[in-house]
Amino acid sequence: MGFYVLRRLLQMVPVFLGTTFLIYALVWAVPGDPFEGKCGERDCPASYVSAMRDKFNLDDPLVVQYGKYLWNLVQGDFGQTSSGLLVGERIATAFPVTLRLALVALLIEAVIGITAGVVSGLRNRGFLDSLVLVSTLFLISIPVFVTGYVVQLVFGLQLGLISPTVTTPTFGNLIVPGFVLASLSMAYVARLSRASISENRRADYVRTALAKGLPTRRVVGVHMLRNSLIPVITFLGTDLGAFLGGAIVTEGIFNVPGVGGLVFRSILTKDGAMVTGVVTVLVLVYLLMTLLVDLLYAVLDPRIRYD
């Protein structure tokens, strides 16, 4: 196991270099002047442009620029935006909000999705089963921005149950955005658990557990669930990685000050340093999450060995 982790961590280095280089190159290769519109209605003065070109090393060849960026990065310096804001600081304030939103969404997704999936998987063809199938199909077919706006309109503006925008990102305030963010994956989790449960329901080991005289509660809750949830939990793991990548749409609708909004605004304002910084962090987070999921898989299923 130790060697496996080490190998995986080492594999991350080339992946990290490749992705960050790609992002860096793409961000600065976007057509158009990066300093257009930075000085209001008129063109920026030549002195400003040359100062900026100097600050971001734009006169160096691309590889040298990237090398300098990387060198600062490993020292913990994410650089500054063109307006002088510290990129690292902005990420440090936005990321905890996204993490909180991601955890809320994950919790909602897991609890509702798994419960619905298990209940419907245990009784094939019945009212509950049809209800779960239809409602998940419904959720899967609706784009998140529709769900988001409808929820905001109905619960926030018409019924007044929630505040339509998140002013302070506490866990409580993030429940509704979390629900919107989780809605699509929740439907997938429900369907995945349903399929997994109904497949395991007729498994030989379930029959053995019954023949041992174990209570049905235990046969379902321990034997069947433990086996059925292996694929579901790995799905949830990768999903958490995706949530941590920021929810541009959901954060936008509810005005959550997280990473998604930050990267979206930075792309609009062609703020290359910010985009590169945020995406670099996201790449790292995603790489670590996939490693964690793979390790978790081995813990859940003893048949999987990494040596």
Partner: protein
């Protein structure tokens, strides 16, 4: 005297999309303490379904028990409460299955799967249950039981897995053990070891053993009595010695003729012509008549009753006496 376990006139049907399959059509047998009853038959003859009905682990739907009784110490289990049936499982009647790899839960250790019954049903602590599990693995002669108790089923070889399953079934000291083709998935040398082990345990514990198999060789070695099943019916019941000396039903006769024999080397092996009937459309009269070399007009009309052929011996054939006398 009431038998330890008695199955009487059991009728089970499977309601499928293609129609109703009559899987059991009046099966009855009994087994006493210290006795080995072999249930012999082709696949689809209803051997396993009978066992699952006894255990109460049939999947309903599609399976429905239409008629009959399963009595354990004289108590009818089919009319007992679900809670009472659960009590009997494992403790009164235990069961082992054919393919131990899929029958054991892949994500729990062998020890866990033995111990959970002890903890739940006997109220043992973790350490007591672990100690008992090691003893049980020792009993079925798994080497290094102390280490192996912590391993998962996939880390065991086929024979060792079946031993572990036997150990698991013995955890609550059952009075009857139903072994559903316990050696079918194993290779021949291991088969013999497992059969010896089962026979030994059965003797020592004075258990009733119901051995479900399609292997005549296995039956000959360990069975005290044999019931032969065909298309959800019992066609012949006899003690092992007399059944092998002179079969009382054409089907049993044909099964024995299809065994390779050392003294008939070089000759063509007899086979039973045709296929077992579809349980959706069992032929009228005797279900075996389309394949039977002795069939006459009456066989396709009347269902043969169980003819008594001496002490404890029956045969469901219109010509049972003639078959018996060769």
């Amino acid at each position: 005297m009431t038998a330890l376990l008695e199955v009487e006139d059991l009728h089970v049907e499977f309601r499928t999309r293609d129609g109703v399959a009559r899987v059991l059509n009046g099966v009855g047998y009994h087994v006493d303490a210290g006795e080995t009853l072999a249930v012999l038959g082709e696949s689809g003859s209803g051997k396993s379904v009978t066992a699952q009905t006894v255990m109460g682990i049939l999947d309903t739907p599609p399976a429905y028990v239409m008629r009959g009784a399963v009595r354990f110490h004289g108590e009818d289990l089919l009319s007992a409460t679900a809670e009472r049936r659960r009590e009997v499982r494992g403790e009164g009647i235990a069961m082992i299955f054919q393919d131990a790899l899929s029958a054991l839960n892949p994500v729990f250790t062998v020890g866990f799967q033995i111990e959970e019954q002890l903890r739940l049903r006997r109220g043992m602590s973790r350490s007591e249950a672990r100690k008992r599990a090691v003893e049980l693995l020792d009993l079925v002669r798994i080497p290094h039981a102390r280490q192996r108790v912590r391993e998962y089923p996939h880390q065991f070889s086929g024979g060792m897995r079946q031993r572990a399953m036997i150990a698991m079934s013995l955890a609550l000291d059952p009075e009857v053990l139903i072994a559903d083709e316990p050696t079918t998935a194993l290779d021949v040398t291991v088969q013999a070891q497992i059969m010896d082990l089962l026979a030994e345990i059965q003797r020592e514990r004075h258990m009733g053993l119901v051995l479900i198999t399609h292997d005549l060789g296995v039956v000959a070695e360990v069975a005290d009595r044999i019931v032969v099943m065909y298309a959800g019916r019992i066609v012949e019941q006899a003690d092992a010695v007399s059944l092998f000396r002179s079969p009382g039903h054409p089907y049993t006769e044909a099964l024995m003729k299809s065994l390779p024999r050392l003294d008939a080397k070089g000759t063509t092996l007899d086979t039973i012509k045709g296929l077992p009937p579809s349980l959706l459309r069992i032929p009228p009269g005797c279900p075996f008549h389309p394949r039977c070399p002795r069939a006459e007009a009456v066989c396709s009309v009347d269902v043969p009753p169980q003819e008594r052929l001496g002490f404890g011996r029956t045969s469901a054939c219109h010509f049972a006496e003639e078959v018996l006398n060769g």
